[in-house]
Subunit: 632 residues, 2 copies
């Protein structure tokens, strides 16, 4: 076993700046293209007008072109009659004004007579005439260098006689995916194989940042092959990305390939996710080794490839799309690493709230679900709950302001609600975060959400939800929006091969549990207590998952033999189910939130037949009272 | 002469809402495309995971996969030695964990020995293992309906087994340019002809808003031809735009074509520019007649086509990109019309300042130069100078915050400075507005700009700039940045056919003047006074232009015979020039602005050889002291 060592762990800003400085001399090339196809391209140099606009004296109104000196005597008491040809010609907007005519009178100011038009006021030279060059004169600058061309620019470029223009040539970026375990998305996936998807994300990111991507076929972990391909790539492209093999594992050849053919400036950067970045050079071309985890590759692309692409196109590295938000949880610093934490955002009571998502580099879905990310600096104390932090937006701010924030217990039906609200209205979005019933209510109390989904059993009364809400919200007017009754039970493999029929049977099998504070955990613990079983007796009682589906898939894939969850998840994965209890899965909100526009949209969905049909499909739900509102 | 009447002048919001409601039933179609090509497309329906991620229990670290029960006894005092195969296998991140192994120990925690690895702490099942479905489980939702796909989504779609997806089909938009006077951009432009450029702006705007544009060849003003083509277009497309002929002129056939083949809902909307809009329907398809002036067509496209395109793609009509800025001038309301006023933006002293540009519908350059626009409501009192107003951004806010705002006197060299600052630095932008020297100083005093360009002669002392600055800025520390000495004189046609040699000669010829408050006007009036000539003696003394180039082009194109201006403009248009005076064209700013980063960039340009070479090329400048700073 031979593992590489990181050459040096560098600070991100420093590593990036050194890298950019090293390639400062790479001046962009230009190409000449048709202006009509130049949207979003960057001007190579300032573009001057080749024609004046307008290119002749032109009529600014519908009416008549006149000789202004013939109108001087006109007044209300002494109207003047103008005769065709000798005094005027009819004109429409845009027509050329030719000698001897030098002014235009609007149609509205004319009185028709048998032998011409009567006017009651004089006009003067150039009245209602757009003089040559009024808009722009030949040789004046239309657009400066390094300007990103918009649709409106295209019209003006054409009208100033620039039908072709010099633009900065798109930098070409070669992407070399590597890895013995990698298969292409159209190939069959077998156990132990991983689908190569990063390269396609890069292809699209490169396109978004003005580059042209060339994706090479997946390379096996073979140093000579990687070196050969790298040499070819630096010849064919302006920049090369190798992914992955940038780490220090046994089959990580990127560092060797680059250092043997050229120079490595940086191996390892103190960011998380993303540490194993390589910044180097081969034959004068920049070569970047990006790590393999999708999140690491995304953030390192953003941190190193984007600034280089911008520099190569003479574009500013922008600091836009950063907003201030209140963080809901304390985030410890990773000390040695600057950390990128994904957050979900929502606007509650006029405050933008950022709820951190999973922190692992492998949690790709956390980036899809994220509305933005914040950066926790290295060597810092982290951030405290309720601190204001800077968030880099990944979605429109506008979307965030129209997002209905639901934090609480997980159920498959939340996905359906999310989708149906989106389908019914182009205006609202749903952000649902699954932290369990109790944490959901706490978030609602802290005004970090608009609504909590909950199924909490009060052991004393045997009632669901209402007792705990009344206990937690003593001063506020709250409402309970009825949701569904759902079947909770034991999820076991198809055919129940382990013959698990009761909670007692669980002591002989590998259990998978839900996290503390979740309604399902409360229910399980209540049932265990009733039956005199202690958690310690159950193998895997400490093995926690955060959603019903995660429990179901653990059983399906034999990571566990049994777990507690809802019927619909067992059904979705074709597992067997043993009923334990019915429970009330409801929604809680502040009374005054009932007027929020997306709350209305939410209630509409709850009551819709379409939603009920979907619940029947999922299975295990009854919903007699769904959407009913109880003021507590 | 037969002119149409507007059917009804409607309010924009109402007209648009009625139109959108009428086509509410047009549901989008879908198409199935390869996920790798789906950037910026809109999901047609919710997309579920077809595969769990990870699809097997996988190693989260480089190290060894172990049987956790074999590690239970390990401690610092009693290390356990693990043996290959019986106790462990070597693994790298991403490798599959297979029975009997159930946990991973990181390479960092291993001590190498002769017969295996020594460990000093136990591990537990699933330690450093990414369990099947940890990221997402089959059947969970990856993306909701109507979601715009980003690069990161593409990676996740692929990894969840969605290599093809259903997206909303792009609405196809037919563009029918019309007009006898129109020529294509690749054709020769003769006097009286206008280049057809709007359609190309539409093509690109449609692309930006997710549609697919089909531009038809330019149609002559022939009702039957327009009708035939319109019928073809509604069959081939989802939406048809006719441009122009939407007004009430003699050759405006759009209204007739639509009303004869279908229905007109709206003809005329109370917006300015843009009144002559037609909203109609032919064979169930929406048909929109847009006005011909580029600015009118831009704003009406934005007001009517964009919302319809969004509705057709189930996308929200967004109200994003609106900021608050302080307006520099009082803007009267047009009363009957809602008016779109273009503004230049800049951040001065932490306040975003909006300076209105020309208001005419024909001033296309004003939209290219604009950073945004504000809307002055109809039936309102307008806005007062220094009011805070809402501005719709046309550029990045970030760009505005890095913009060096120069307001003052015009010179061709400002374009060069603008371009060279842009070329030297990717970080700064220049916004220069030409209002004349005096207005420029007033703007600087009101903190509406960072710098004023000025050449104001003090009649008493015969000195340039310094006296008036001291008079206007009594309490502040100001600096004068030396610019150029430039030649001012009379601009006449090549060969001086009218034999104009002195100001006295101007009384016999058509003069073109500069606006009041401009340095050139002050100089002219001073010279006239010295020579005992009154303005009234000069024909065209009241015919004003706002830039030197506008004066030069008026002479070149025979709108006037003579005007006063700078040498470089005469040279640019190959005109003759009679020297009248040298003048000092300088820059003024507050002392503390010298530290602004773009001010440094500006001073660098002033002193650069590259800039001096360009001045020599333009001609008529000397610049011994350029860039020198005088504290006043």
């Amino acid at each position: 076993m031979k593992r590489n060592l990181y050459l040096n762990i560098q600070n991100r800003v420093e590593a990036c700046q050194n890298f950019l400085d090293h390639f400062q001399h790479l001046q962009p090339q230009y190409e000449i293209i048709d202006t009509i196809n130049s949207l979003n391209r960057i001007t190579y140099e300032a573009i001057d007008a080749k024609l004046s606009v307008p290119s002749y004296n032109s009529c600014a109104m519908d009416g008549i072109a006149v000789i202004s000196s013939h109108t001087i005597l006109a007044s209300e008491n002494h109207p003047v009659v103008l005769h065709p040809q000798t005094d005027y010609v009819e004109v429409d907007t845009g027509d050329m004004i030719q000698d001897p005519y030098d002014a235009v009178i609007m149609a509205e100011d004319l009185i028709e007579t048998d032998d011409g038009y009567k006017i009651i006021a004089p006009t003067h030279p150039f009245a209602h005439v757009r003089a040559i060059g009024e808009d722009i004169v030949t040789k004046e600058m239309v657009l400066p260098s390094h300007h990103k061309i918009r649709s409106i620019d295209i019209a003006v470029l054409l009208s100033t006689g620039n039908s072709q223009i010099k633009v900065i040539k798109k930098p070409t970026v070669a992407i070399l995916p590597t890895g013995d375990e990698m298969v292409d998305y159209h190939e069959e996936i077998k156990d132990g194989r991983i689908m190569e998807t990063n390269s396609w994300m890069f292809v699209n990111l490169i396109q978004e940042h003005g580059g042209e991507a060339v994706r090479y076929p997946i390379l096996r972990d073979d140093l000579e092959l990687i070196k050969r391909t790298l040499l070819k790539a630096v010849q064919e492209s302006d920049l090369v990305i190798i992914n992955a093999g940038s780490s220090a594992g046994r089959d990580d050849y990127t560092i060797h390939a680059i250092s043997q053919l050229g120079k490595v400036f940086t191996h390892g950067v103190s960011i998380k996710p993303g540490k194993p970045v390589i910044l180097g050079e081969v034959k004068g071309k920049p070569v970047i080794g990006l790590p393999g985890y999708p999140l690491s590759s995304y953030f390192t692309f953003d941190a190193f490839v984007v600034p280089l692409l911008k520099q190569m196109q003479q574009q500013k590295s922008n600091e836009e799309n950063i907003i201030t938000a209140k963080i809901t949880k304390t985030l410890m610093s990773s000390f040695k690493y600057e950390e990128y934490v994904r957050v979900k955002l929502g606007k509650v009571n006029d405050e933008i709230i950022a709820a951190p998502l999973q922190r692992g580099a492998a949690a790709t879905m956390s980036l899809v679900q994220a509305d933005g990310f914040c950066v926790i600096p290295e060597n810092s104390e982290g951030v405290n709950a309720h601190d204001l932090i800077k968030v880099h937006l990944l979605t429109d701010l506008n979307q965030i302001e129209n997002t209905f924030v639901m934090i609480g217990s997980h159920d498959l039906l939340l996905d359906v609600i999310n989708d149906q609200i989106k389908e019914n209205s182009q205006n609202f979005y749903v952000s649902s975060t699954h932290v369990g019933s109790l944490s959901g209510l706490i978030a609602l109390r802290k005004h970090e959400s608009h609504c909590a989904s909950t199924h909490l059993l009060d052991e004393k009364t045997g009632l669901y939800n209402t007792p705990i809400i009344k206990e937690m919200f003593t001063d506020e007017k709250m409402v309970l929006i009825k949701g569904v009754r759902r079947r909770q039970g034991l999820i076991v493999r198809k055919g129940n091969p382990d013959h698990i029929y009761t909670l007692k049977d669980c002591v002989h099998h590998r259990f998978i549990n839900r996290q503390k504070g979740s309604g399902t955990r409360v229910l399980l613990d209540y049932q265990l207590k009733c039956q005199g079983i202690s958690g310690e007796q159950i193998p895997g009682y400490d093995h926690e998952a955060t959603t019903h589906m995660a429990v179901a898939v653990a059983v399906a894939k034999k990571n566990a033999d049994v777990g507690m969850g809802i019927y619909s998840c067992a059904k979705a994965l074709d597992l067997d189910f043993i009923d334990i209890a019915y429970e009330e899965y409801d929604f809680v909100t502040y009374e005054n939130y009932l007027n929020l526009p997306f709350m209305k949209s939410f209630l509409e969905v709850l009551k819709s037949e379409k939603f009920h049909r979907k619940l029947d499909e999922l299975g295990g739900y009854t919903y007699e009272e769904i959407g009913e509102i109880y003021h507590l």
